[in-house]
Amino acid sequence: MQAYIIRRLMAAVVTVFVLSLAVFWLLRLIPTDPAVLILGMNATDEQVQGLRHEMGLDKPILQQYLDWMQQLLTGNLGRSFVTHSDVGDEILSRLPVTLELLALTVAFTVLFGIPFGIISAVYQNSLLDYGVRVVAVFGLSIPTFWLATLVILVPAQQWGYSPPIAQTVGLLEDPWDNLRQFVPPALILGLTAAAGIMRLTRSSLLEVLRQDYIRTARAKGLQERLVILRHGLKNSLVPVVTVLGLQVAGLLGGTVIIESIFTLRGLGQYTFEALFRRDFLVVQTMALYIAVVVVLMNLLVDILYAWLDPRIRYS
């Protein structure tokens, strides 16, 4: 197991390295010159060249990348040339927002996805099963941004209600205002994820319930409830956990949209605005950050996998 984890960690380093290099290189293919964008149209050639030199944009791309890596290894994430704020500070101040959003989203996903998946499988082909499945397909089909837009516009027009905007409220500062800000986006983001988890729980549980050991458990007179909860569910959750882990990657993409719509000062909004402003340093740092998170999540999932299902042995 240890050897396996070490090997996986080494592969993870390669993945992260390749990804960050790819994003770094892609950003420098963007036709607009960030120096011109910062200085404005009226800047002289000299000023532009000066800023390009300061930003290191006049060096070869590989050299720029190595310089950046060297800077990162000293623990300094650098200062944005566009907003003049420290990237490390920004990430630290925005991390709690995105973490709370993701935590609530995953909670909703599990809370709705797994129980409804079980109900749907246990009452297979009943009206209830069909109802839950149709709702799940709706959940997968409705665009997050549209639902979020309606959730903001309709109450605002009908009752003049809007969640606290402009400033993100901390959970400990004012729990009520904080939840008013975070629960709607988390529910919307969780809808798609829960629909996927529900479908997977259902099909996975149905698969397990056809196994011989389930028949044995029933034959020895075990209560149906125990057969499903103790024998069936535990085994059927293995793929569910995997997908839940992988979904976090997708949710990170979802935060870009949802944080922008609900004006939450999180990492998704930070990434999107940076991309819009051609703030290379921020985008490449966030891409690296996301790659690290996703790769670590995948590793965690695989380890959890072996723990949930002792038949799985890595060597």
């Binding site: 990804l19 997968l140 089909s141 409705i142 549209w146 099909s203 149905l206 990657a249 993409g253 995948n298």
Partner: protein, 300 residues
């Protein structure tokens, strides 16, 4: 693992279907077995017709700013209301079907074709080539798709062609992974061995023997991907990095409605409802096709 009611050998199963049955009855039995799939197909057909016949169906020109007063509500003259420049929303939604379906089909067909070629090649050749391709795919799958698309489209610039290109590229890693898996299991079959024993060349085995056998899988994946691709286009356009205005992209129209004041709900509602319905159609159809093509999943 075939359940008791399915025939073990698929060829026999197909032959066992009574041939004398009328077409009408066959359609009826399909409706009874896969009502949601048939509903999905119907939705898609209606949208396709709407998109193709948009110039004749739409009551107004897409960008006719004199179609009505700004921000009109729902009425007989403008069933979906108007936007802030007085453009008829029903017409824009009808024309929008063109953009959504064109982006969906072109990106998915292009992406799947390349992905299938890569997947078959990677799975059949194996060895270090397979390893390198799979590691690259790993890397791309790990990264959040939306952020990847946003970066790519920022590099290329927002336009219809680039949106199709970018979504097509985004599809490749995941699909090639699935196709490769299918090829790996198909490769074990005796017909491949038989073909090789008869002296068939590698390209012949790949395209004449393996491709038809993974085609069913590819069709199922493509159907679901069409929904995903349409959602991706809508999301990119909503974020202002997709189809540029004044084109009637559903996603871009929702964004325009969101940013305008005073709030006008119909303007935001109908384009989004059109996206939902389209994606719903593809998802229902995809589920039904999977049930039909994959006997193992039947009755589940």
């Amino acid at each position: 693992m075939a359940s008791s009611d399915t025939v073990l050998i698929p060829e026999l199963g197909a032959a066992a279907v009574p041939r004398g049955r009328g077409r009408g009855r066959r359609v009826l039995s399909l409706v009874r077995k896969q009502p949601l799939g048939v509903f999905g197909l119907a939705v898609i057909l209606v949208l396709a017709v709407a998109g193709l016949a948009a110039p004749w169906l739409a009551p107004y020109e897409v960008n006719d700013i004199g179609a009505g007063q700004p921000l009109e509500g729902m009425s007989w003259a403008h069933p979906f209301g108007t936007d802030s420049s007085g453009r008829d929303m029903l017409s824009r939604v009808i024309y929008g079907a063109r953009i959504s379906l064109a982006v969906g089909f072109l990106s998915v067909i292009g992406g799947t074709a390349i992905a299938t070629a890569i997947g078959i090649f990677s799975g059949y050749v194996g060895g270090w080539v397979d390893n390198v391709i799979q590691r690259v795919a790993d890397t791309l799958i790990a990264f959040p798709a939306l952020i990847f698309l946003l970066i790519l489209v920022t590099v290329l610039g927002p336009s219809m062609r680039n949106v199709i290109l970018v979504i097509g590229i985004g599809i490749i890693p995941g699909v090639s992974r699935v196709v490769r898996g299918a090829v790996l299991s198909e490769k074990q079959n005796q017909y491949v061995e038989a073909a090789r024993a008869l002296g068939a060349s590698t390209p012949r085995i790949l395209f004449r023997h393996l491709l038809p056998n993974v085609a069913a899988l590819a069709i199922v994946i493509m159907t679901t991907l069409l929904g995903t691709a349409i959602l991706a286009e809508a999301s990119l356009s909503f974020l202002g990095l997709g189809i540029p205005p004044p084109n009637p992209s559903w996603g871009a129209d929702v964004n325009a409605a969101r940013n305008s004041f005073p709030i006008h709900i119909p303007w935001a509602f109908f384009p989004g409802a059109a996206i939902s319905l389209t994606v719903l159609g593809f998802n229902f159809l995809g589920d039904a096709l999977r049930d039909l093509f994959d006997p193992r999943l039947r009755g589940r």
